[in-house]
Structure formats: structure tokens, C-alpha cells
Amino acid sequence: MAEPRFRHSGDVSWIRARLRAAPGGTLACAALVLVTAFLAAALPRAVDGYEDTALRETVSRASLPGRSVTMSLQVSRLSVPFDPEALLTSTSLRETEAQFQKLVRPPLALERDQTVYGVRSVDTVATDPGLPRIPSDALLPPKGTLVAQPDLAANTRLVEGRLPHPRGDDRSVEAVITDRTAKVMKLRAGSAFHLEDAVGSVMTVRVTGIVAPRTPAVAWWNAEPDLRKPRLVSLANPGGDPNPYWHFTALIDDNATNVLLGLQDGALAYWHHPADIDALTAHDVPALRDRLAALTAGPAAARLQAQQRDLRVEEQGLSKLLGPFADERTAAQPLVLVAAVGMSAVAMVVLLMAAGLSAARRRNEFILLRARGISLGALTGRLLAEGAVVAVPSAAAGLALALFLLPAERAAVAVWSAATVAVVATVSLPLRAAATARRPRSQQREDIVATRPSRRRTVAELTLVALVAGAVVALRQRGTADGGADLLTAAAPVLLAVVCALVLLRLYPWPVRLLARSFARLNGAVLHLGLARAGRAPSTTALPLLAVLVSLTVTSFGGSVLAGVESGRDHAAVTAVGADARVQTDGALPQKLASQVRKVPGVREVTGVRVDPGQQVMNAGTSFDLLVVDPEPYARLVAVTGLGSSFPAGKLDAGASRAIPAIASPLVARTFKHRVGDLGSVRSSVGQVMVRIVGTQDATPASPDHEFLIVSKNALARVAPATREPAHGPSTLYATGTGIDARALRAAVSKAAPKALVMLRTEQRASYGTTSALQSGTRHVYLVAVAAGAGYSVLALLLSLLHNAPQRKALLARLRTMGMTGRQRQWLAVLEMLPQVLLGAFGGILVALAEVPLLRQGVDLTALAFSAAEPVTGASGAVLRTDPPSLLLPSAALVVLACAVLAVQARLTGRRGEGTELRMGERS
């Protein structure tokens, strides 16, 4: 046997050979997988990021007590008869704190170094005449609180005098005050004041020194109120002006807390724990609320109270902040979910198309390998290894990039997304190849195009359409879901796009074939050839069309959300104000105010309405507002604002009987109907009046959130002439117009009626316009997802063009040999693909129109349109609305782009020589 003549064994390393064979394709594939994995991992991280940022911003805007969890224990000789002093020692305080800390578990995170605990006195007043009161003849004396917090010396800087000693008897104690307290309360080192409790026992407090805070911003100084300086508190006084008084604090030594027990209510031991803002995460908010509830009133609280009775835990603001945040987050989730599902669908389509293109290009190789005797499993295994070598490192790199660039707490979702991308990219080519090369087949012509698709494909498509249609129907019948993220709702655009794509692809050849037949009579060949080719069953699958449809749908969904939010805000503003401007007061407005308001620039018409709230139907519980209007102008107001259907002004003045005609809201009308003959008596400001219901209105400008009854001014004056007097004149003026000058209006109103309230629709509308961090973050993520989806769908179009490129090039080269000019060939290329592109644009519009009624019930825009802080009347207007620009612009852009790409490709192929395209003996 000859010695080995060959340096290398020749046993091919499959992967190395493949990678070396097509470096460009491999790089492109790796880039695609990298970008896709990056986007897939970045989306959940970005959402987490802005949600966390929004939450932390919301919580940090609250004051320190507003975001703390406070434990408190009331200790007095009455409540703890046996050894109450032991509970107030600093050791006991520390132990209780340690027990509390054992109950603090994630997700609740409290800042340990910002914990403040101490003891303070409860509710004492300082009656010394020397202490200031504002105003000086005020009723209420200042209130003083004695506070003992550990580490007094470490946190204060002595300005004057000395720190207090712990000794003292039951009636007197030494204390220090801050410099600002001393200035306001007019106290000095060495002076003394007396604190008196509710039963009259007096405690003398001797001020031994003045201190200044070492670091005023730390929690030590800010946990308890008014430690650094006194505060003027106003006590509300019903029926009069509020009463102010000063509240100040004096610091005593923490070993002197026993003296506080001499007061009647004793002392209050407190432990303030501010929440750790940086540890807050948005997705933990429900668990956090549960934890807080458990601490304040649940099993953890019970465990604490088992240790020490009367130990209470409360938090004054954290759950009030978290509740609206959670609602807003839940409301914003469908948006993000729709964008995420849409983008991932388009990305998957592109990955599958890339695999399909690769499989189609390498079809001969697979058939050859199968014919040479490779088993299907071995072929799949080799392709799997080939794919994994490219896809897995790229996906890992994309994931690492996303994790690095977008910091957030959880990485699980991002890792899973990137892993899914890697799996799809790896597995799609082997599966496609296995489907192609399952049964070894001899060579066929590749440019054969069937008139209609195979029966198997028809059955598969029908099954898919039936499944998806069933899902869509189920979604529609579900009605209002339980809110929040719902995968079926979010997948609805994709499902609709699937159905639309399959149906359109089946239907479009027929009209095209009709057109082709009619164009056959024309002289030129281009139109007929192009349409004839386009009228055959499409050789590509529905995938590129699906990608285009999904991205168009997601884009228009965003547009419809925005349109819904805008229209919801408009509707709420109009409902809240009732017209473009409203001037209202209790009682009656001056008569000349109406003409003055009419003179304000921008005002077109003014009408006055007298609103008598709180009327009641006799012997029925319904309360309503009685509206006395001028029928004709009021009818015009109703028409302009759109609140209510066509107002029958004529009916209100008709009739001369004792019972005046009235228009009521439906509930009032029903209540009246239960009596005899629709007649009822109503108590108005001038006595009892008989009314007769002549019509109903669902809503009316003058009474947005109550039931109402509308009568005509003249009719009322007919039966009760006293109403003509100015004291019974209109209480509210409604002005319509565009561009009302707010300043002039306010000036006119304040001159004539200083106490009247002026509201403008434009100002009300603008007040809804503030977007929170959560909403702007959602918007950013949505825009990025839409842009990514658009990019992917363009890539899908390019891939589908690439799919047919060899056949098209061969066809164009053959036509050139037959004498077709370059321009004609360009037109032919465009015409061949134009129906599919137009189909994409048209189908996108269809699906976008169809998805609005489908998703309207599942997507609640109220929390997005209005901040949850104030309740808003008329918020029902915030639903999805079709937005024509966002429907039409992307479709038009798609058509233009596709035509441009096709024309470029046709021009490029026209230059190459035919020798390379057409070879003798080639069968295709």
C-alpha cells in the first residue's frame, strides 16, 4: 500500500466546508439572528426599565413620611400598667426593631440606614403667653411635641448651651431646640416653657441649648414632622375661616423618656422605615402591595402583636401611590403586548423566509445528497449542526448586547426570548430541507407554475383559516376581559392578518386573470405577460404578505390608540365644561354679564341656564337638577357640543296648559312615567310647578353627571311670573366660539361677578395632556417596535424578491434575446410583483379597519388618556378609533418602496450578459 499521498485525510468537516463555501450568506444570516435576538431580548428589558424608572420617580416624589412604613406603639400608664418604662428604653426599641426587620421580606425593601425610631409625646399644648401665635389674637395656642431619638449628639451640632441631661423628675425635663425653632418660638437657651396635656397636668421643659442639624437632609431629621422648624397648621372650622396654630418640637435625651409617661396619653414609640426606592421594581408591585397589606393588617401584623400588644404598623402613602401606578401599568400593557407580538411575528416570518430561501437555493444539493444515500436523520443532523454554529453564537451575542445596554432587574424573559430566536433560526432550515427532500425525486423544471395550488395546500389553508376565525370569534364574544395583559387580545392583529393573507392570496388571481385576458388584445406584450404570470398561483407562500400585513396592522393600531386617546380627551373636556367656556356661580349672575361675555374676542354665542341642583321627585328617591333654559340657543349649544341628540326646542314652548312641557333624562322620565299621565309636580325655586314630559335626552351640556329635567324659561315664567326677576336669572353662562381669549373673559367676569368660576374647554383639554413617565416609555417602546416591524417587513419583501430572482433573471434574459427592450423588461418585472405589493397595501388597510371593532372592548384607554389622580367625567369616550393617516401612509410608502426596489433590480439585471443566464443543456 502506498504511503499516504494526501496531506489531509479528505474527510470533510462538514461545518467548515459549508462556512467556507458561502461566507456572505453566513454573515448575513448571523447578522439577522444577532439583530433579532437583540431586539427580542431588548424589548422586555426596555419595558422593565421604563416601568421601574416610572415607579421610582413616582415614589421618590412623595415625601419621606409618605413613603415610609411606620410601626408605632402607644405606651402610657393606663395602657401598660406594668413596667411601661421598660418599653421606652433604647434597648427595647432596638429589639422591637430587630423583630420587625425579620418580617421584612422581598419584594418589600426598606432602607436600613434610613430607619428612624424614637419616642415622642402625644398631643400637648404649650400655653405660655410668651409663645407666639399667628395671628396674635388667634384662638389656639401652639402645640409642642417632645421627641427622643437615639444618637442625638451625633446628628446635632451645638450652637449654644449644652445637650440635655437624662435626669429629671415626673414634672420637668431638659430639652434642646433647633435654631429655627428658637427663632420662631422666641425661645433661648436657658428659657423654659410648659406643656399641658388634656387633663391639665403641666410639664416644665427647660431649654438647655440650641442645636443645628449636622446634615439636614437625612431621615433622622425628616421622618418625624417639624423636627427642624415649626409649622403653621390650620384647623378647619366649618362655617368660618380656618384656625391656625404653631406646631414645634423639642428634643430630649433618649434616656429621659420615662418623663413622658407623666402625661396623660403617655408616649408613642415609633419606628419609621422609608422604602428603598432603588430596589423597587414594577413587576413586583402586586406582591409588594400584598406584603404591605400583610404587614399592616395581615399575618405579619398578627405576629408582631403577639410579641407586643398594641404594636401597629401602618403606611401613609405607599399603597396609595402603588395602586394608581399598578392600574396605569395594567392599562399600558396591552399596547406593548400588541407591539411585541406583532414584531415577533414579523421577525419569525423573516427567519422562516430566510430558511426557505436557503432551502430553495440548496434544493439540488439536498436531492443529490439524498440520492447518494444519506438518511433523512443524518441530513437533518448536519443541517442542524450547521445552523447551530451560526445561530447560537449570534443569538448569544445579541442577548449579551441587550443585557449590557439595557439594565434592568430580571433577565429571565430576555434570555428566553433570545433562546427562542436561536432555536427558530437553527431548526427552520433542517425542517424545511427535510420536507423538501423527504422522498427522493428526480429533477423537475423549476420554473413551472401551477394554475392552482395543490389540494393538500388548500386543505391546510382552510384548516388554518377555520382555526384562526374561531379564535377571532371567541375573542369578540368574550367582551370586556378582566383587563391587563391578554395574549389573545394582543395576538388578534396577527390572527386577522393570517386570515386576510390566506384569503387574499386565494382570491386575487381571478381578477388579475380577467384583466390579463382583456389585455391580451393590446399590442404590447408587457401588460399581458406580466399579468398572466401574476395571475398564476403564487409560487411563494403567504409569508411575505403576512409580514407586510402584520407590520401595517401594528402601525395602524398605534395610530388608532393615539386617535382614541385624543378623542377621549376631547370628549371629556367638552363634557366637563359643557361648551367652549363656562361661567358659573351659586345664585344668579349679573344680567349685563351675558352681553359683556359676548363681547370677548372669540365668543360667538352665549346662552344662560339656571341650574337648580338637588331637586327630588316627590316620593321617589331620584334627585335631579332642574335646568331652566332658553330653548333655541340651548338647542344650538347641544348641536355644537354633541352632548345629546337633536334637541326639540319647539316642544318646550308649546302648549298653554298649566303643566309646562319638560325634557328629562331617561331615569327621571321613567320615574315620572310611573305616576298618572306623565304629570308631576316639581319644586323649583319659586314653588311647586306641574311638568309634563315631552321628550328625553341621554346627556346634556348643563348637567354632565346628574339626572336632569329641562324646562323653558318662558314657559316657567308663564306659570310662575316670579321667575322673571333677576334673582332667578341664569346661574351659568355657556359660551361657544373658537379661540376664546381667556384673559379677557376672566377680566370681564371678575369685574362683574368676582366670585364666579370660569372654565375653558381648551384649558381643561390641556390639563389632560400631561403624560407620565410610564406613558412616554410605552410610546417609545411602541415606536421602536413599529420601526423594527417595518424594517423586517421590508426585509421580507426583499427576500421574496430574491426567492424568484434566478427565474426572473433567466426569463428577462430570454426575453431580451427575443427583442424586448430594457424599459419593457423593467415594466415587466414591476408588473409581475405589483399585484402582490398592492395586495399587501390593500390587505393592510382591510385588517386595520377590521381590528378596531375587534379590539375595542379589550383595550381600555382610560388610564392612558387621563392620569388616575382625579376622576374624570365623560371618560367613556376613550376607545380605539380608526385613524386614516396611520392607515394610508404606511401602505402608500410600502407600494412606493416595492416599486423602487423592483425597478432597481430590473435595471441591474438588464446589464448582465445572457451567456451566464442561459446555458445550453440547462433544463431550467
Binding site: 447518494r372 444515500g373 428526480s442 443543456g921
Partner: protein
């Protein structure tokens, strides 16, 4: 009466025993094509596409013995490529029987088909680009089927064997070149080496010299002959090329989906060492005795629907059916 019954009973007994004897005799006789490598018995292949039926093979009979080097010729559309596809295991016949080296081609499951394609048959297509994987060198292309079959163990052993095959084909110097770097003739010879990689019993070639010039075609055919003589492989070549068809020992012409005629060449060496090649053309007779008359014969005698046959001691006479001539002959 009793005599009759006893007579009939005897006749019945004899008839039954006679039947049994005939059956056992039939079973002991060798089946049709016993001992041949390729046995095609009334092979039918019908293609149906969108309601149009095409009968590519209409009951083809073919017997190929081991070690033959034969060519299949015929006009385009006569069914040669279809037959080749069936013999290569890439296509399934509609009816009839075909067996190659004991593998029944109508009853191949996927595992048996795999074994058949790996170990029994090798093929060479016409387009050189479809025979070789473009991203592997010639040596790697030859090693690939060996690796798949797994009979030759050890990477070095496979490489050596591949090298030997390439040398045998005369393209040993192309071992490290990729297909794009080789000429058409070199590619086809490499393709033959790939087909021979697993020592198959049968090598099929579909117009291997169709894209080559006459010099390369001659080289390729020499390669086939070398393989046939030195390795004992049976080679069936489908060709239009007259040079190839006249260089093989046996040429079978296929017409209208059936074998029509055969040309057999015998080489004889006379006493002075001169080699003479005798080529004789025959018409194929299938199992049921059917015969296809060559077109020029039938046209010459205006033979249309019927012929009269007369059995002579050493030949069969065939006369066309012309009634007026018969009448004259009879008179």
C-alpha cells in the same frame, strides 16, 4: 354406468396429479431473468399531471447481466431517462416488476431504499454541476459517499481509496481542486469516481458526455470502460452520442416506452491477430412474444395493421396483409 364412473374417477385422479406435477415443474424452473443483474418485467410508468396522462414506459422488458457495458438509446420522450430514474431508486414504477441485484424496486421502504442507493447503485447525471457538491474538493466528494455508507472505516483508509479511484479515472491530479476549477471532462470523470465510491454493482449514467467535446467525451468513455473492465461494474449509459453507442458491447434502443431493438457487438480475433468487430442488430422480443418492427421495414412494405406469419424450419416469414396480392397469389 359403473364403468363410466370408474373411468371418470380415474381421469379425475390423473388430472389432479397431473396438475400438481405441472405446478411443481413450473416452480422449479428458473423465474424470468434468473441470474441477471437488472430484471425489468413489463415495467409501466405513468405520469399524471392536471388531468393529462403520459405513459412514459409501456411495459418495458429488459435483462442486463452482471458485468455488461451497455448503452440505452432512443429519441427524446422515449422513456430512457424515466427508466434510469427508476433503476436509480429515485422514482417508483406504476406497474410491472423491476429488480436490481435482488432488490425489488417496487417494494423498497425507506431503509431499504437508502441501502440500495448507498451500496448497489451509483449514477452520473448529465449536468456536471449536479454531480458534485460545489463546496467540496474532488477528494472530499469521493469520500462523502464512503462516509455515509460506513463500510470503509478510518479516515485515512477512505482517503486512500478515494485517491485510488481518482487515479483509476485518470484525474488523480485534481484531488484538491473544487469543481469550479476543473474542466468538464475532469468533472465528469470525478463524478464517475464518486459513483464508484462504494463499489456498487451498477453504475447508471444519463448522457454523461452530452455537454462535452469529443476529446473529453472519449476520455470519459475510457473511464467507464476502465471501471467496467477493472472493477467489474455493470454500466448502463443513456446516450445520444453515436461514438459512445458504437463503442459498447450492447446497445438497446427504446421506442415508445418499450425496448425495440438491440445491437450486439462481438469482437473476434482471427489467426493473424486482426480484431474484427461484428455488430448485429436484433429486434427485441418480450416475454409474450411481442416484437417491434423497425419503421423503415414497415414503411418499405407498407405494413399496417396485420402481418401474416409463416413458420419455416429455421425462420419465421412475415408478410404484409394486402388482400389483392393474396388473391393473386392464391390464383
Amino acid at each position: 354406468m359403473s364403468q363410466d364412473t370408474s373411468g371418470t374417477a380415474e381421469r379425475d385422479r390423473v388430472t389432479l396429479a397431473e396438475l400438481e406435477r405441472r405446478i411443481t415443474k413450473g416452480r422449479e424452473q428458473p423465474a424470468y431473468g434468473h441470474g441477471a443483474l437488472i430484471v425489468c418485467d413489463r415495467l409501466v410508468r405513468i405520469f399524471t399531471a392536471q388531468g393529462v396522462e403520459v405513459q412514459a414506459l409501456q411495459g418495458l422488458d429488459l435483462l442486463v447481466q452482471q458485468g455488461e457495458l451497455m448503452a440505452l438509446v432512443g429519441a427524446s420522450g422515449s422513456g430512457k431517462s424515466t427508466l434510469l430514474g427508476i433503476l436509480a431508486g429515485l422514482d417508483m414504477p406504476t406497474a410491472g416488476a423491476a429488480s436490481v441485484a435482488g432488490f425489488d424496486l417496487l417494494a423498497l421502504d425507506s431503509g431499504a431504499r437508502l441501502r440500495y442507493q448507498r451500496e448497489v447503485v451509483g449514477f452520473v447525471w448529465q449536468q456536471t454541476s449536479r454531480n458534485l457538491l460545489p463546496y467540496l474538493t474532488a477528494l472530499q466528494n469521493v469520500v462523502l459517499p464512503m462516509g455515509l455508507a460506513g463500510r470503509v472505516k478510518g479516515r485515512q483508509a477512505r482517503a486512500d481509496r478515494a485517491g485510488e479511484l481518482l487515479d483509476l479515472m485518470g484525474v488523480g491530479y485534481c484531488a484538491d481542486r473544487r469543481p469550479q476549477q476543473m474542466s468538464g471532462g475532469e468533472q465528469q470523470r470525478t463524478a464517475i469516481a464518486v459513483a464508484l465510491a462504494n463499489h456498487p454493482s451498477l453504475v447508471l449514467a444519463d448522457e454523461p458526455t452530452g455537454q462535452l467535446d469529443s476529446a473529453s467525451a472519449a476520455q470519459v468513455f475510457d473511464a467507464f470502460r476502465t471501471a467496467n473492465e477493472q472493477l467489474g461494474t455493470t454500466i448502463v449509459v443513456v446516450t445520444h452520442d453515436q461514438a459512445v453507442a458504437s463503442a459498447v458491447d450492447r446497445t438497446v434502443a427504446i421506442r415508445d416506452g418499450r425496448t425495440a431493438s438491440e445491437v450486439i457487438r462481438r469482437t473476434s480475433v482471427d489467426d493473424e491477430g486482426r480484431t474484427t468487430v461484428h455488430a448485429s442488430e436484433y429486434a427485441t422480443v418480450d416475454r409474450s412474444g411481442r416484437l417491434q418492427l423497425p419503421r423503415d421495414f414497415t414503411r418499405a412494405l407498407d405494413i399496417r395493421d396485420r402481418v401474416m406469419l409463416e413458420l419455416e424450419p429455421d425462420h419465421i416469414a412475415l408478410r404484409p396483409d394486402h388482400p389483392e396480392q393474396d388473391g393473386q397469389a392464391n390464383r
